[in-house]
């Protein structure tokens, strides 16, 4: 049941993102993140963190977005399962590019590029 609610929050978050309502998407993903942490589902936890990062990016809140995209990376490290990491490196780099920190952006793009040929 909780898993069901989690899935539906992730889905509605995605729909709000698609419909250019990132503030509403943020709320959905926030609930999803808590649910995923509660039932200890790291894969869905990453999806929620990623959604939060994307929602903030769309609102121009790049510093906060970096925090959530970085959360994806730390969950990957904690779990030894790296799905979503390529995308997280790329998204963090995108944020630093927007913030004008091209040095840091380049570092993250390098990690992103190094993973492009892997699965």
């Amino acid at each position: 049941p909780k898993k069901q609610e989690l899935i539906s929050k992730l889905k509605s978050g995605k729909n709000f993102l698609r419909n250019q309502q990132p503030d509403k998407a943020f709320t959905e993903f926030k609930i999803a993140l808590e649910l995923a942490q509660n039932i200890k589902d790291p894969i869905e936890e990453k999806k929620a963190a990623r959604g939060l990062g994307a929602s903030l990016q769309r609102q121009g809140k790049y510093r906060d977005a970096v925090k959530y995209h970085s959360m994806v990376l730390s969950i990957s490290e904690r779990e030894g399962e790296d799905s979503g990491s390529t995308e997280a490196f790329g998204a963090i780099a995108d944020c630093y590019t927007e913030l004008g920190d091209l040095e840091k952006a380049g570092q993250y793009y390098d990690k992103y590029i190094a993973r492009l040929e892997k699965d």
Binding site: E87, G90, D94, T97, Y109, I113, L116, E117
Partner: protein
């Protein structure tokens, strides 16, 4: 570092294509697909895009440690800007 914004734009360009084609595909497949199928299709779209981007992305980064010169990297950037209309 001048090439960093191009990396961002090229990523966004490819992601737009990926998402559009993925949604078209999911639309054709209908709602009765399994989670496994959904994931396989998503992985397929990412796998193709990432492997297609790998070469160009690598050649937008010039770290001085190999024989790719700065001017060559900038030429790559200009060509990519032209070919994918990334400046507009």
């Amino acid at each position: 570092l001048e090439t960093v914004p191009t990396i961002k734009k090229l990523r966004a360009y490819a992601e737009r294509i990926r998402v559009a084609e993925l949604e078209k595909c999911l639309g054709k497949m209908g709602d009765d697909i399994s989670k496994k199928t959904r994931k396989a299709v998503d992985d397929l779209s990412r796998g193709i895009v990432n492997r297609m981007l790998h070469g160009p992305m690598q050649h937008l980064r010039c770290d001085g440690s190999d024989d790719r010169t700065l001017s060559e990297t900038l030429e790559n950037m200009h060509a990519l800007n032209r070919m994918f209309s990334l400046e507009t």
